[in-house]
Amino acid sequence: MELLSGAEMVVRALRDEGVKFIYGYPGGALLHIYDAIFTQDDVEHVLVRHEQAATHMADAYARATGKAGVALVTSGPGATNAVTGIATAYMDSIPMVVITGQVMSHLIGEDAFQETDMIGVSRPIVKHSFSVQSPEEIPEIIKKAFHIAESGRPGPVVVDIPKDMTTPTERYEYEYPKNVKMRSYNPISKGHTGQIKKAVDMLLAAKRPVLYTGGGVIMGDASEQLIALAKELGYPVTNTLMGLGGYPGTDPQFIGMLGMHGSYEANMAMHHSDMILCVGARFDDRVTNGTDKFCPTAKIVHIDIDPASISKTIKADVPIVGPAQAVLKEMLEQVQAAKNSPCAESLKAWWEQIDEWRGRHGGRFRTDDSELMKPQQVIEMLSKVTNGDAYVCSDVGQHQMFAAQYYKFNKPNRWINSGGLGTMGFGLPAAMGVKMNFPEEEVVCVTGEGSIQMNIQELSTISQYDIPVKVICLNNQSLGMVRQWQDMNYESRHSQSYMKSLPDFVKLVESYGHVGIKVERYEDLEDAMREAFAMKDRMVFMDIAVDPFEHVYPMQVPRGSMRDMWLSKTERT
C-alpha cells in the first residue's frame, strides 16, 4: 500500500472521488495541503478572490450536476468567509464538501492565531461535520463527507482539518474506501407501496388537481418521471422557485411558478384545488402565504425524502417518504395499472377555469408608463436569444423574480439561484462554477447593480481562468426589491435602498480585460445581446438601464390566502 502524508491524502481522496475542480483560497493552516496540490495535476485548484465565491462556485456546480462541489478554505477568517456560502447551500439542500483548515490540535481552544471553532460556527448550517483527529482517518472521513452530502436530502458537509494532521513528513497507508456503512445513517431508497396506492386513488378521484413540485425534483433527478406522470394524467403543474425547469416551461400543462410572486393562474389553481400532489417541495412561507388560509378545499399528498419536511408547516393527508424519482415511477405504474382513470368531464371544466385565469392576467406588464426599458422585456429577450437553453444563474432581488417569471426553462438544473437564504452575491460565482464545468454551454448571470457588487472581485478570477460567462445586469439604480416593499408598505420612504455612486460598469470590467456593453434603449437590446452572445470566448457584461419604478407582480398580500394578490400597482384580487 502507498504511503501518503495527510495533506497528500486529502488531495488523493478528492481525486479518487472524481473531483475535477476545487475552489479555494490558501492560508497558514492549509500550506501543507496547498503544497500537495502543487505537486499533482489530477485535481485543478481554482483560486477565487474571496472565500464566499469559492463556496458559491462549488454549490452551483452541484446544482447543475447533482454532485457535491468542493471548497477549500483556511482557518479563522477563511472559514468564516465561507459561512454565507455554506448557509446558502444548506437552505436549498445542495450537496457540498467544504474543507476548512484548523490550527494545530494542541493549540485548539487557546485562542491561537486564526483559530475559529468552525465545527461550532457551522453546526446549524451543515448536514454534518467532521473534525479530523488522526491523519489515518482522512480517506474515510472524506468518503463519508461525500456520501452524506450527496445522498438522502442533500446538504453541505464541513471537514475541519488541524494543520498537524497534514504534516508532510508523517506518512500513512492510503486506501480510498469503495463504500461506507454508517449504522446511524441509511437514506431511504423507495416509497411505501401502500401509501402510494392511497395517493393514486386520490389522484384519480380528484376533480381539481394540481401537481406542485419543487427543488426535490431537480436535485432528485426526477424530472423525467414527473413529466411522464403529468402527461399520463393531464393535470396542471406548478413549480416553486427551486423547482423551475423540473417541468418544461413552455408546455401547456405548466401554469407557472406559485407563491409570493407566482403566476395568477398558479396561485388561483392552488387555492381552488381539491387535491394537491406535492413532490419535493417544502410548503415554504413564500409559497403558502398565511398557513391558516392555505388551500381550504385541498387534500394533500406530500412526497419528500425528508420526513421532517412533511407536515412541518402544512399537514399532509397522505405522507410518502422516499426519493421523488422512485416514488413517481411507482405512482405512474399504479396509475397505468388502475381500472379507473381521471374524470374527463371534471378535468375539462378545471382546465377551462385555469385557462380563463391565465387569460385574465397571464404575466402582463405595462411598457407605456416609462421611457426606460422594462426589466421583464430584457428577460424575455434573453429567453429568445438563448432559446431558453442557457444556464441562468441569478442573484437576489427583483431581477431574480423577473428571471424566474419570464425565462422559460425547459430543462432541469439550468435555473440556478439562492431561494432559501436569498444570498445577494451568489450569481456571478455561481455562473463561473457552472461555466468552468460546462465550457460549451451558454452560461448567464442575471443580476442587479446591487447584488453584482457583492462579489464583483471575482471579475479577476474570471480573467485568470478565462471563464466567458455573460452578465446581464438589470440596472435600476436601486435595491429594487427593498424599494418595492418601501413603496408598498412605507409610503415610498426609500430608506437606504438607493444605490448612489455606482461605478461605470463598462470601464470597470474593461479594466479586468473583459467586454462591457451599455444598453439604454429597448431598440438596441436585441442586437446588443446577440453581439454579446456571439463573443463565445469573452466575458461580457451588459449594463442595461431599466425602469427603476417597476414592481414585481403578482405579489401575494401578506398573511392572506394564496389567491390574495396584488396584480399591479393598482389592481388587487
Binding site: 453546526r123 461535520s129 446511524s184 445513517y185 420526513p307 421532517a308 412541518k312 399537514k315
Partner: protein, 164 residues
C-alpha cells in the same frame, strides 16, 4: 403536553452539542436533559423532557432522527413507561422540631438522609419528577438551602427496549 424523548447516539465528540444546538436552533423547549454512556461504550443515551403540541413533538423526533450521530429516537410518553429522577436537597435543620419534621416528610416520600451536620440535613429522593416537586412543596421553601436534580431518565415498561 410533556414528552420524554430518549435518544441513542454515537458516543462521539460533538454529538451532544448537535442535539442541544438543534433544540435552540429550532426553538424547541428543553425542560431537562440527561446524558451518559450505555453498556455499549460506542453509544450514549440521552433523555430529554420537553413540552409541546403534537406538531412540535413530531418535528422534534423527526429532526433528532436526521442528525447523523443519532442512531435511534423514541418518545417514551407514547407508551407505558417508567420515569425516574434523582434529587438531593440540602436543608437548614438547626432545631429539633425542624429536624423531626424533615425526617418525617422524607420517610413519607421514601427519601433518605444522606448527610447530616449540626445545622443541615441533605435528603436524597428518587422518583417521577412530579413526586420530587411534591416533596419540595411539602417541605416549604423556607428551610431549603440548595436543590440539585439529575433530570429525567426513562425506560419503557415490559419487553420493549431501545437498542441498536
Amino acid at each position: 403536553m410533556r414528552h420524554i424523548i430518549s435518544v441513542l447516539m454515537e458516543n462521539e465528540p460533538g454529538a451532544l452539542s448537535r442535539v442541544v444546538g438543534l433544540f435552540s436552533q429550532r426553538n424547541f423547549n428543553i425542560e431537562s436533559l440527561t446524558v451518559a454512556p450505555t453498556e455499549d461504550e460506542t453509544l450514549s443515551r440521552l433523555t430529554v423532557t420537553t413540552v409541546g403540541d403534537d406538531r412540535v413533538v413530531e418535528q422534534i423526533t423527526k429532526q433528532l432522527n436526521k442528525l447523523i450521530d443519532v442512531v435511534k429516537v423514541v418518545d417514551l410518553t407514547e407508551g407505558d413507561h417508567l420515569e425516574r429522577e434523582l434529587m438531593m436537597i440540602k436543608m437548614k435543620a438547626n432545631n429539633g422540631t425542624v429536624r423531626a419534621e424533615i425526617k418525617r416528610t422524607a420517610d413519607i416520600f421514601r427519601g433518605t438522609i444522606i448527610d447530616v451536620t449540626p445545622n443541615t440535613f441533605t435528603v436524597q429522593l428518587v422518583g417521577a419528577s412530579s413526586k420530587l416537586d411534591a416533596f419540595i412543596e411539602a417541605l416549604g421553601s423556607s428551610n431549603i438551602m440548595e436543590v440539585v436534580r439529575s433530570g429525567v431518565s426513562g425506560i419503557a415498561r415490559g419487553e420493549k427496549v431501545l437498542t441498536l
